[in-house]
Symmetry: C2
Subunit: 158 residues, 2 copies
Amino acid sequence: MEREEKMVAINHRVGIKAPVSKVYEALSTIDGIANWWTKETSGESRSGGNVDVRFLSPDGKEKGSMNFEIIELKKNKQVHWRFKSGPEEWIETDVVFNLSQEDDYTIVLFSHKNWRELVEFTAHCSMKWATFLLSLKSLVETGKGKPSPNDVKIDNWN
Amino acid sequence: MEREEKMVAINHRVGIKAPVSKVYEALSTIDGIANWWTKETSGESRSGGNVDVRFLSPDGKEKGSMNFEIIELKKNKQVHWRFKSGPEEWIETDVVFNLSQEDDYTIVLFSHKNWRELVEFTAHCSMKWATFLLSLKSLVETGKGKPSPNDVKIDNWN
């Protein structure tokens, strides 16, 4: 189901020295997501399924949470999420990971799109996604990511 | 001189635990830029001045270079560059760093704007800018950044 695309989006590209199947596994399973984005990940990672993610401070207090629906899982090609709850600005936005192979790399084209407007929080999220994509790269290449609460802190918002 | 703004832009937000004057110094001087972006930085950092940046591989070969004009230096508030040569997609694009203080942080609102269109290279540059902004944060907070050629590599393009 196509929707009208809005212009504000975060777009990142990373290359991961690993087979595409390994990257897809890290993006398409609950265990995978828990090892690069946030340890507090639960739900059902299947087309039409819903996933809950929670972000805790080091002392265990909840700082935020989100729920997304899995719109599409195309094996070794694409993972597509749509946010259903969380920060107000995220609701009904889409995150898409497109995967391809080049040389020894799996290329991840990441897009968080359909933001209603560009706000300071968009710029914060752009930096956070960059650090989480480096966490994904590290997880797949070395076995160890930096999921929340061990995520890289970038500003006074987190 | 205002120009029509195009929609495609990279926007990042980082917070640096340091006085705004220290962050401004790292953005507005040749030595500063050389310590977080690329060691090969030369030119005149004054309004109307031009700056050359070169990117070398670890064995000293040039991988790329750019030249930008300093459009504006507003002390402790804003640094604005416009690219005059370099990758074709960068020519006549603008990079703006807006600085403000919040709590113990200097907030850097970074924008690389006026891209003619969104291309895969935009997504690559978005990731690279994120790592260079973390390099800037590290330089100001700890005295040590990761300028090229010691920059964080993110994909098969660099």
